[in-house]
Amino acid sequence: MRALIAAATGLAVALALVITISAIGSPPGETSPKPLLTTVPKHP
């Protein structure tokens, strides 16, 4: 019984962690202030 509880705890923590990280995701950021280029840049 104690083994089952230990295994269930491990599984629950893994599920909670992955679901939380996936739900948080990454921030969208901002639109770059740089323009669409109309001259040939000298370097990247």
Partner: protein, 333 residues
């Protein structure tokens, strides 16, 4: 004590073993996405191409034509489209700006490309944020600029902005490019009648004025991409393109005139910078799809083995720590 340790190890073993598939098949598809605010540019050059001089309407060889391509993620537009689409969306405003040997503009084609941030599947918003090419609303039924994460060895549907059609781009094999394993793709667009660009290089000449003469523009291209399969990012691209004006009164009795004919290749410094960028992005994707899932699985199995070993030792008779949890019962004869 050993019993408690084996239970803790068992919980950790299950945690790690569960993290392996969860990371690969739950977290990765949700976490791997194109950032909405990405900004990127590339420079491509055609050496010794044929270019039409609109002043004299004569085609001639020129030393070089340069294509400056900019992709700019429009975060505000993507947030608006996401509200109706109900999924993560990227809106790229792009500009292909073509510069002649004298540094003057030859042509420019602005585009708006809207796609799913995870799968790169095209999204078709309407109204203000509709996808466009050169100001005209279009519908893309394939990818453009980038392949999906974990690109497969198969043909994809690819959108051609000049012809405004979606056609297959064929997988032609696996190659090594600058130390990276890449998939090589090739697409041929046969001769097609295409719209004239809205911005022409000579003042006074407009698509409408050309159309009145009965002259039409025709185009064919062979498009080549070397795609890094983990990120789906092209690390190199080439295009062998031909543009012609055909028929009508504008050509002075000639059947056709070449507008542009050349082999466009990515400039060397941009190849290096793209390869470096893809190499660094690749590390993150590999971490989520391979390193972490396999690492967790191996660690989970090791912890499970350790837990079982401790448990077995705790039950071995004659060891002080392995004392039974309950008092031994007398056996009746």
């Amino acid at each position: 004590m050993r019993r408690k340790a084996s239970l803790i190890l068992l919980a950790l073993a299950v945690f790690c073993t569960a993290m392996s598939p969860l990371m690969r098949w739950y977290a990765f598809p949700r976490l791997a996405k194109i950032p909405a605010g990405q900004y990127q540019n590339a420079v491509l050059e055609a050496k010794n191409p044929t270019l039409l001089d609109y002043g004299s309407m004569q085609s001639k060889k020129v030393p070089k034509v340069t294509v400056v391509q900019t992709l700019k993620g429009n975060v505000e537009a993507s947030e608006q489209v996401e509200k109706s689409a109900g999924r993560d969306v990227v809106v790229w405003d792009s500009l292909s700006y073509i510069v002649g040997p004298d540094g003057k503009m030859v042509s420019q084609v602005p585009e708006r490309y809207v796609f799913d941030a995870h799968s790169q599947a095209p999204v078709h918003p309407t109204g203000k944020y509709a996808e466009t090419v050169d100001g005209d609303k279009v519908r893309r039924d394939g990818i453009e600029f980038k392949w999906p994460f974990l690109t497969e060895k198969r043909d994809y549907e690819y959108y051609d902005a000049q012809a405004r059609v979606t056609r297959p781009i064929h997988y032609k094999g696996t190659r090594t490019f600058r130390g990276l394993k890449v998939y090589y793709f090739e697409q041929t667009i046969p001769w097609m009648k295409v719209p004239l660009p809205k911005t022409m290089p000579v003042k006074g000449i407009t698509p409408e004025s050309v159309a009145k003469t009965g002259t039409t523009r025709w185009y064919t291209t062979v498009r080549k991409f070397w795609v890094e399969p983990v990120t789906g990012a092209p690390v190199y691209g080439e295009e062998i393109q031909h543009n012609e004006l055909r028929g009508g009164t504008l050509l002075g009795g000639r059947d056709k005139v070449t507008v542009f004919a050349g082999h466009v290749k990515m400039r060397e410094d941009y190849i290096r910078s793209t390869v470096d960028l893809v190499k660094s992005n690749r590390v993150l994707v590999v971490l989520l799809t391979s390193t972490l899932p396999w690492g967790f699985l191996i660690l989970g199995l090791l912890l499970l083995a350790l837990s079982l070993w401790l448990e077995a030792r705790s039950r071995r008779p004659g060891e002080p720590e392995a004392a039974p949890e309950h008092e031994p019962q007398p056996v009746s004869a």
